[in-house]
C-alpha cells in the first residue's frame, strides 16, 4: 500500500446543506497535502471526516490501508489531529492533559513521551501550570504536542498556525520538518504563500466541491494564486 489516503466520492450533508460533495483524491504516503478554499468551502468538514470525528453521508475512504468507517477505532491509533479547539482541559496542567491523552492513546512509556514533547514545544517550564493560565499561542503549542503523542502516521492540521506568534510558528515549522519525512500530512490553510511553500500537493475547494487537485511541481505559485482567486470569487458570487 503506497497511498496514505484514497478518498472516493466523499459527501457530508447537514440536513439539506451539503458541506462536502463528491470529493475524490489520493495522497501518497509521506506527502504533504495543503487544502485551500474560502470560508465555508468544506475544508474543516473534510478533515473531520478523515479524522473519524464525523461520519461521511456517502462515499468511502481508505486511510493507511484501513477503511474509514469499518476500521475507525484502529485508524484513530495512527492519526493526529489539530483543530481550532485545543482539546485540553483548562483545570488540568499541561503535563496532566498530555499524560491523560497519551494513556488513552496507549502510548508506551507515556511520561517520557510527554516530557520529550513538552521540551520540543518549549513548554517544559510551564508543564505543571493549569492550561487555563496559558496564552492562545501556548495552548496551540500544547495542542500540537497532544496531536504528536501517538507518533501518528497521518497528521491532520486545521489552520495550525492560527494563534501562534512568530516564535511558536518557528517551533511548529521545525517540528513539521523534523517529522515530515516519515509521515503524511493534510493541512488546511488560509495563508496561500506559506501553505504553497510547505505543500507537495494542492487541493482547492469551494462550496464543498473540489475545484483543483494538483502536484505543486505542476502548478507555479502565480497560476495557483490565480486559480484560487477565481475559485474564491465563484464562492462569493
Amino acid at each position: 500500500m503506497t497511498d496514505a489516503i484514497v478518498a472516493k466520492g466523499l459527501r457530508k450533508a447537514f440536513g439539506s446543506r451539503v458541506a462536502v460533495d463528491d470529493l475524490s483524491f489520493t495522497l501518497p504516503k509521506g506527502r504533504f497535502l495543503v487544502v485551500f478554499g474560502p470560508n465555508g468551502a468544506g475544508k474543516t468538514t473534510l478533515l473531520r471526516m478523515l479524522s473519524t470525528l464525523s461520519r461521511p453521508s456517502a462515499g468511502s475512504a481508505n486511510i493507511l490501508g484501513l477503511d474509514l468507517i469499518e476500521d475507525a477505532q484502529e485508524l484513530r491509533r495512527h492519526i493526529g489531529f489539530i483543530s481550532h479547539a485545543p482539546m485540553l482541559y483548562p483545570a488540568l496542567s499541561a503535563s496532566e492533559n498530555l499524560l491523560f491523552f497519551a494513556r488513552l492513546q496507549g502510548v508506551p512509556n507515556p511520561q517520557a513521551r510527554v516530557k520529550d514533547l513538552l521540551d520540543a514545544v518549549e513548554l517544559s517550564h510551564r508543564s505543571l501550570d493549569p492550561v487555563s493560565t496559558f496564552s492562545r499561542g501556548m495552548l496551540q503549542r500544547c495542542s500540537i504536542a497532544r496531536a504528536l503523542l501517538g507518533d501518528p502516521e497521518l497528521l491532520l492540521l486545521d489552520e495550525p498556525y492560527s494563534g501562534l506568534d512568530l516564535r511558536a510558528a518557528d517551533i511548529f515549522d521545525q517540528l513539521l520538518s523534523d517529522h515530515r519525512a516519515d509521515r503524511s500530512i493534510v493541512m488546511v490553510s488560509h495563508d496561500l504563500q506559506h501553505g504553497y511553500d510547505l505543500a507537495d500537493q494542492l487541493l482547492l475547494m469551494s462550496r464543498g466541491k473540489l475545484l483543483l487537485s494538483a502536484d505543486k511541481d505542476d502548478l507555479p505559485f502565480d497560476e495557483f494564486q490565480h486559480r484560487f482567486r477565481a475559485g474564491a470569487g465563484m464562492a462569493v458570487g
Binding site: L53, Q73, L75, I79, F81, P86, A91, F100, L104
Partner: protein
C-alpha cells in the same frame, strides 16, 4: 490498553478535574441547599397535623432529581468548551467506555451531594418526628436511584449535547423516562423511614423494580452509546 485501564484513566480525569474546579459539586450542592430553603418556606405554612414523615420520600427524591439535572447538564458542557470530547473521541477506545466512566463520575458526584443534603433534610424537617428503626435502609434506594439517574442521565445529556435549548430538552426527556425508577425509590425510601407494618414487602418489591430498571436502562444506554455519540 484494556477496557478497565481506559475506564480508570477516563474516570480519574473526571475526578481530578472536578476536584480542581469543583464546578459540578458546588453548583449541585448550592442548588440542593436552595431547594431545602424552599421546602422550609413551603412546609412552614402547613398545619401542625401534617405528617411530614409520609412525604419525606417524595421530597427527598424531588430534591435529588432536580439537583441531578443541573449536574448532568454541566457534566458534558465542560467537555465541549475546549473541544475535549473530540480529543477523547479521537482516541482508539470503545465509545461505551466513555459512557461507563462518565456515568460513574456522575453517580459519584450525585452520591456526594446526597451525603450532605439528605442528613440536612432530616435535620431541618424530621427533627421533631420519630424515625422507624429501619431508616438506615434508605441507603439502598439512594444507591439504586443514583445509579439509574446517572446512567440514563449520561445518555440523555449526550443526546441533547448539540441541540438548541438542551437544558429544557434534557428535562423533558429525563423526567418521564425516569418516572418508574423515581416511583420505586420514593416507595422504598418512605417505607423504610415510616416503617409501618409489612413495609418490608413494599420495600423489597420497590428495590427489585429499581434494580431491574437500572439493569435494563444501563444495558440499553451502553449498547446505544456508540450510535448516539457518533451521530
Amino acid at each position: 490498553m484494556g477496557f478497565f485501564e481506559q475506564y480508570r484513566v477516563l474516570l480519574r480525569k473526571d475526578l481530578t478535574r472536578e476536584f480542581r474546579s469543583k464546578e459540578m459539586l458546588s453548583s449541585m450542592g448550592i442548588y440542593a441547599l436552595l431547594v431545602l430553603v424552599v421546602y422550609g418556606a413551603a412546609l412552614s405554612q402547613t398545619s401542625k397535623g401534617l405528617d411530614i414523615l409520609q412525604m419525606s420520600g417524595g421530597l427527598i427524591w424531588a430534591l435529588i432529581v432536580f439537583t441531578s439535572m443541573l449536574g448532568l447538564n454541566r457534566s458534558f458542557a465542560f467537555e465541549k468548551e475546549q473541544g475535549c470530547l473530540e480529543g477523547i473521541l479521537l482516541a482508539p477506545i470503545d465509545r461505551s467506555t466513555i459512557f461507563l466512566s462518565k456515568a460513574t463520575s456522575n453517580c459519584l458526584f450525585l452520591l456526594v451531594v446526597e451525603l450532605i443534603t439528605v442528613p440536612l433534610f432530616a435535620f431541618f424537617f424530621l427533627g421533631g418526628v420519630t424515625l422507624a428503626p429501619s431508616w438506615p435502609l434508605i441507603v439502598f434506594p439512594l444507591l439504586l436511584g443514583s445509579i439509574g439517574i446517572a446512567g440514563v442521565g449520561t445518555l440523555l445529556s449526550t443526546i441533547t449535547l448539540e441541540t438548541r435549548g438542551k437544558d429544557v430538552l434534557l428535562a423533558v426527556l429525563f423526567v418521564p423516562l425516569l418516572f418508574p425508577l423515581v416511583y420505586a425509590c420514593v416507595a422504598a425510601t418512605t417505607g423504610c423511614m415510616v416503617g409501618s407494618e409489612g413495609f418490608m414487602t413494599t420495600y423489597l418489591r420497590s428495590l427489585l423494580l429499581a434494580g431491574g430498571y437500572d439493569i435494563i436502562m444501563l444495558s440499553l444506554s451502553w449498547a446505544l452509546y456508540d450510535f448516539v455519540i457518533s451521530a
